[in-house]
Subunit: 482 residues, 2 copies
């Protein structure tokens, strides 16, 4: 059956500001079953999502896992939807029904990953997926992960109500337990799918709350232990696109709307231990001390200087000391050191400089760029242990180009988007090991994430969703090698 309609009446439209209407809506007459191969660039660029509908659904489904009071204030957008809890089951059940209502086939694999697939016209092609996660941190917000899934659903809805056909099937995956907050392996289920986390290890991972529940027992309990292997062979993908909040301040600080994410930083985590000598704070002269905390303080400050000079990041998030008494000089200090850069070589360079300089600082020797000890110090021991190493990830140029072109189309001005490297880990890091992958970032207010105050404006969410949808359609059109 053939129909004619004004496109403007069919696409979800929104927004107030000029840059959100980069071009006028075409009043084209088109056939009902619109195939991406026959759409013009202009057609695709005008394809938007219905902002209010998408956001309404995002907030509605946050009834499952609504966060607790946060301190003395109630922050309504706080979320606590730990993976494989009853709240997670509830939103999953809703997700499955919603995807089915949009004409998708839904399957679940052995890690509980849910794949919703809207058929394409070429039965030989694997789906192009959008993907993210519906679980949150215990004191999380409503955008990290959730936005990516909700935007994927909204995209399917727009395709469906506009009868848009694609060569590839268009899929949407909800990856199980991305956060690692309840079961302490981050990106655990995309990790199993990608072969970087063994299935048995994932299944055995236990609830950090000490309940004794495991990933496997909880998958069974909530009815999401699916039959399909979690592998790229059992669930092939043509590509994987993920819309995510930035979780950092770069877009906001630069008044930009979209990050075209070309990969993920390399990072390396270390535990550094400084061993000095406990002594009484009142009876030990300044030049006769082996003050492990003072030396650790110099090291932390120095790591900041060295990383910054190399354009890298260095951070200490954990520090513990012994014996821990107001009048005893600390004998042992243990601290974490997280070094990051988009370049593997720079991470290595910073690591090597710091290993050299920390040894000198522990010996009380002068180190360039580091305040010397004011009164000498007893020589101390410093030891390093490497806890984790994640090399730099480079996303697929075809996917990146699809995102960049879509960002340009949606925003109209190259000043409103930028290429970025993801500072955090995402399921897309795992998918990128097997299939063409890219990500789309939208601004995080104040750079805040994993906190009830995490927030992205409705406008920015909708812009990101439009870029996600358009990038998948462009990828489908074969613009993937542009």
């Amino acid at each position: 059956m053939l129909r004619t309609k004004r496109i403007a009446g069919r696409f979800g439209l929104f927004s107030r500001k000029a840059w959100q209407y980069p071009r006028a809506m075409p009043c084209a007459t088109i056939t009902s079953a619109l195939h991406t191969s026959s759409m013009t660039e202009d057609h695709i660029a005008t394809l938007k999502v219905r902002r209010d509908r998408m956001m309404q659904q995002l907030h509605d489904t946050c009834q499952w896992g609504q966060g607790e009071r946060w301190g003395s204030a109630v922050i309504d957008t706080g979320m606590k939807r730990l993976a494989l809890t009853d709240a997670d089951k509830a939103v999953r059940d809703w997700f499955v029904e919603e995807a089915k209502s949009l004409g998708c086939n839904v399957t679940v694999d052995e890690m509980g990953n849910i794949f919703a697939v809207r058929p394409g016209t070429n039965p030989d092609l694997p789906p192009i997926y959008a993907g993210s996660h519906l679980d949150t941190q215990p004191t999380g917000g409503r955008y990290d992960g959730i936005l990516g899934v909700m935007a994927g659903l909204e995209g399917l809805r727009v395709l469906q109500e506009n009868d848009i056909q694609t060569d590839h099937p268009i899929g949407l995956v909800n990856w199980t337990s991305e956060e690692g907050a309840r079961f302490p392996i981050t990106m655990i289920s995309s990790g199993v799918w990608a072969g970087v986390v063994p299935l048995e290890k994932a299944y055995a991972s236990q609830d950090v709350g000490g309940s004794g529940s495991t990933v496997r027992s909880e998958l069974e309990r909530i009815g999401y232990l699916g039959p399909r292997p979690a592998t790229p062979e059992a669930t092939p993908m043509a590509a994987h696109f993920e819309l995510h909040i930035e979780q950092g301040p770069i877009l906001e600080n630069n008044q930009q709307k979209i990050g075209v994410v070309n990969g993920a930083q390399a990072y390396k985590w270390f535990t550094v231990v400084v061993k000095g000598r406990a002594a009484h704070t009142g009876t030990t002269p300044m030049d006769a001390r082996g003050d492990a905390l003072l030396v650790a303080a110099r090291m932390i400050n120095h790591s900041n200087v060295v990383a910054n000079n190399s354009g890298a990041l260095a951070s200490t998030g954990i520090l513990t000391l012994q014996p821990g008494s107001v009048n005893v000089i600390p004998s042992h200090v243990r601290f974490s050191l997280d070094i990051r850069s988009k370049s593997d070589a720079i991470v290595t360079e910073v690591e090597q400089k710091l290993k050299r300089d920390f040894a000198a600082i522990a010996q009380g020797r002068d180190v360039e760029g580091c305040t010397p000890p004011s009164a000498g110090t007893l020589p101390m021991e410093v030891t390093w242990a490497t806890d984790y190493h994640s090399p730099a990830v480079h996303f697929d140029q075809g996917c990146i180009n699809a995102v960049r072109t879509s960002a340009a189309g949606v925003l109209g001005s190259s000043e409103l988007f930028r290429d970025m490297t993801s500072g955090a880990g995402h399921d897309s890091v795992n998918t990128s090991k097997h299939v063409p992958t890219a990500m789309i970032f939208v601004p995080s207010k104040g750079g805040i994430s994993h906190h009830p105050e995490e927030w992205t404006s409705d406008e920015d969410c909708a812009l990101g969703a439009a870029v996600l949808l358009q990038a998948m359609l462009r990828y489908d059109r074969g613009h993937n090698s542009k």
Copy 2:
């Protein structure tokens, strides 16, 4: 009855090295009941203790509270004699019997302080006391406190076996629970005696182990809740001398044997809180951080520089942070700051400088002597709370002179002793508020204390005990205003 003896046969003699025999033993003929008023300076200077006997008794009585294994090694001198435990009762019972056997009257006050008094010839005079404590830290050694009591007993023994008479009675006090390790108020019982700790507060102090026992219930349980008020009126003193290990490295590092302690440092304890902003370590550029730990590290380093420039001490023994995750920049850091000097004015000066400079560091402003932030920083809040203030203590010049003269007499060379200020708190700080007081320090190997490796050589213990005994006799002779 009159007897004649060679003095050398009557005094406890010891030692191998030349400086330990600063002068030849006189072969004087003296009457049996030798009164301090008729002793010459030479007589007093030759008065020593019996090293081996004293040390044997010290080690024997450490059967009560013998410490546990320390890590993988057994350190035989480890002690765990927490106040008012069965081990403490056992050594107290022994102490009472031993003092009685030396001709002393023994009384116990309402804080369990045990006063052993050997009568003098003038019934109107209060006793000159030696005093220290028999309790230890949970992982303590055999010298802190214990040496002062054992040396006092040995002095009484030397007086007794040599029929030396004094104008003042000569006393020895074992102060209850000096360490504050089991009941967390240090110097609690000399504090009650001196009126600085209210009796009811002391009685109510609870076992840190959570047993619910209080000082009062444990005093009752072990039979040391005496009838006498713990006050200077009920237990008057002419003076208080305390032999103690230095618990620091100054004497050892200067190859000296005796510290003539002229007072105790002023000290002030603070809790400093830095409030920054939690953010993801991977997604937050260096110049967009409110890294509370980085700022705290700069503050700790700066406190060291400022204190050292003022000849003061500054130390941080406790530091905690939140939220404490390897990939989250700390939002809150809380650390202790302990500032000390022998001068109240210098403590105040360092406090004021640091309050000014910490505020500037928290704002990311340049501070003289402090490495500037490498990449800027978000402004942060810093708050100070004063937890404790102990003003400088100045001991009595008469007592100090008696100690200095005795040190000169025992050691022979002014290079072997020095004036010092105590860096730690002692019962003598409390007694000095009411009666003339001074202390004598002997070297601590490696400056180590409150640890099973705490150690002072037998020779140094005996030198200290001789100085203690001689100082009391000199004070008795009225050399207290010299």
